[in-house]
């Protein structure tokens, strides 16, 4: 199987006022995607993306078990998320709560589904917030970080221009 790269193909949609859905295909069978999704040493390698370094991943993968992910963002501050597993169907489906620790009152419910076809796996994450305000704040957080990255790049450009 040739590894077709899917870089940059995540799709974010807003199915309702309180929901966000993220979908993406991966060039791997679903048991491997599920592994990478639920194994702490593997989560560590991808979860923070380009935003920072993962400092701690706790996964107690059973119904009622807790999870907590922490990263130090490039800007130096710590960002933590935690929640509890509500439903686990190995290689198929995960339902958990999610709390951004910077906004502890806003608990969301995440439903992640893994569907395999022809050796590729489609992952769909549906994030259900308790209010439109919390949903919007969640998306705004991406906006702020995106803006931050843009500003960082601008700074690099500015620095390179100032070198004689």
């Amino acid at each position: 199987m040739s590894a077709v790269t899917s870089s940059g193909t995540a799709v974010v949609t807003l199915p309702s006022d309180t929901q966000v859905r993220i979908t993406r295909d991966f060039a791997a069978p679903k048991h491997l995607v599920y592994n990478a999704w639920t194994t702490p040493e593997l989560i560590k390698r991808w979860w923070s993306g380009d935003r920072g370094e993962v400092t701690s991943i706790d996964v107690d993968l059973r119904v009622g078990g807790r999870w907590r992910y922490v990263m130090v963002a490039n800007e130096g501050f710590e960002v933590g998320f935690h929640g509890e597993y509500r439903e686990i169907v190995t290689n198929e489906r995960l339902v958990s709560t999610e709390v951004y620790e910077g906004m502890p009152d806003a608990e969301a419910v995440d439903t992640t589904i893994f569907i395999e076809a022809d050796g590729r796996t489609s992952v769909s994450i549906l994030i259900e917030h308790s209010s439109k305000e919390h949903r919007d704040a969640h998306i705004d957080s991406g906006m702020e970080l995106g803006l931050q990255e843009a500003l960082d790049q601008l700074e690099q450009v500015a620095v390179s221009l100032s070198v004689p």
């Binding site: 995540a10 974010v12 991966f26 990478a36 998306i139």
Partner: protein, 118 residues
């Protein structure tokens, strides 16, 4: 049941499933109301109500063709929504690009296991 302020901007207009279905249908080309009624399997007054909301925010335009009213998509008001979610989408793209690397390694390891069994 009255719902306040659903028509104020494109964000609210596309928060409704039926209205998104209408936009999906119109994305393939303009259509008369009757077409939409048939395709959506909805009562005509309901379809007209949704079309009115979409028109008020500028997402659809209407023109008279003979006795028919033909609706067409105008996607420009969707731009702010696109811009809004794009940064969020970008952060997930970065995350998933790294996951691709992890998965490629897992596949390689799995292939290695299979060949060593042979």
């Amino acid at each position: 049941m009255a719902r306040a302020a659903t028509t104020t901007d494109a964000f609210n207009a596309v928060a409704e499933l039926r209205r998104r279905q209408i936009l999906d249908l119109l994305a393939a080309g303009e259509r008369p109301v009757n077409d939409l009624v048939g395709l959506l399997d909805l009562a005509q007054p309901l379809v007209s109500k949704h079309l009115r909301v979409l028109r008020e925010v500028g997402l659809v335009q209407v023109r008279e063709v003979g006795r028919q009213r033909v609706y067409a998509l105008d996607s420009r008001p969707l731009r702010p929504i696109h811009d809004w979610v794009r940064a969020f989408e970008q952060s997930w793209n970065e995350r998933f690009d790294r996951l691709d690397v992890v998965l490629a390694e897992l596949i390689e390891m799995a292939d290695g296991d299979v060949s060593s069994d042979e």
